[in-house]
Symmetry: C2
Subunit: 106 residues, 2 copies
């Protein structure tokens, strides 16, 4: 994963409203949630919600699929897994870097 992509995904999750939104989608499972359902759960104006949805979609963390007149939003589990992998790997959450000689350049 490229650093720029990871940063944009982290940034998109780094807003309390969007993190709540994303979490609601994840908890909704593979079935996802319509935008209206999200609006009810989060209790925010539709335009604000749409704005945040777009950010998550642009970052590649959420997908949308039209179902009639409603739009179903789903969390992209693969994208999250990649992001977590990047953090754990590039950023060595396990602390293994200290013993890894090749991990010393910028």
């Amino acid at each position: 994963m490229k650093l720029e992509l990871a940063a944009s995904q982290l940034e998109s999750l780094g807003n309390p409203t969007r993190l709540r939104l994303y979490r609601a989608l994840v908890r909704a499972g593979t079935g996802g949630l319509p935008v209206g359902g999200l609006q009810q759960k989060l209790g925010i104006p539709a335009s604000t919600l749409s704005h945040h949805c777009r950010k998550l979609i642009d970052a590649g963390l959420v997908t949308q699929e039209r179902n009639g007149t409603t739009l179903i939003c789903r969390a992209d589990y693969g994208a999250m897994a990649s992001l977590i992998g990047y953090l754990a790997d590039e950023c060595c959450a396990d602390g293994a870097c200290a013993e890894n000689p090749e991990n010393t350049e910028a």
Copy 2:
């Protein structure tokens, strides 16, 4: 972990300059890096660097310790591990949520 804390940590990592900074610290291992060393590695003005350091420190992802006239910065591996845990757990990167009935509220 509280959602607000996770969001603030994600936001602090969600900037390319800060992500590079954090990555440099992680790769430096437990010994950390002085601010001056970071400045050389990243090639940015000292005031800008100091600003970004502060953000990471405020978010709890980086610690500082004075060593004579230089300040050593270190990545807080525990904080990153907690954050990754939050993402993997609350946000179900493994996709297990779909089969988890209790994971259905907001």
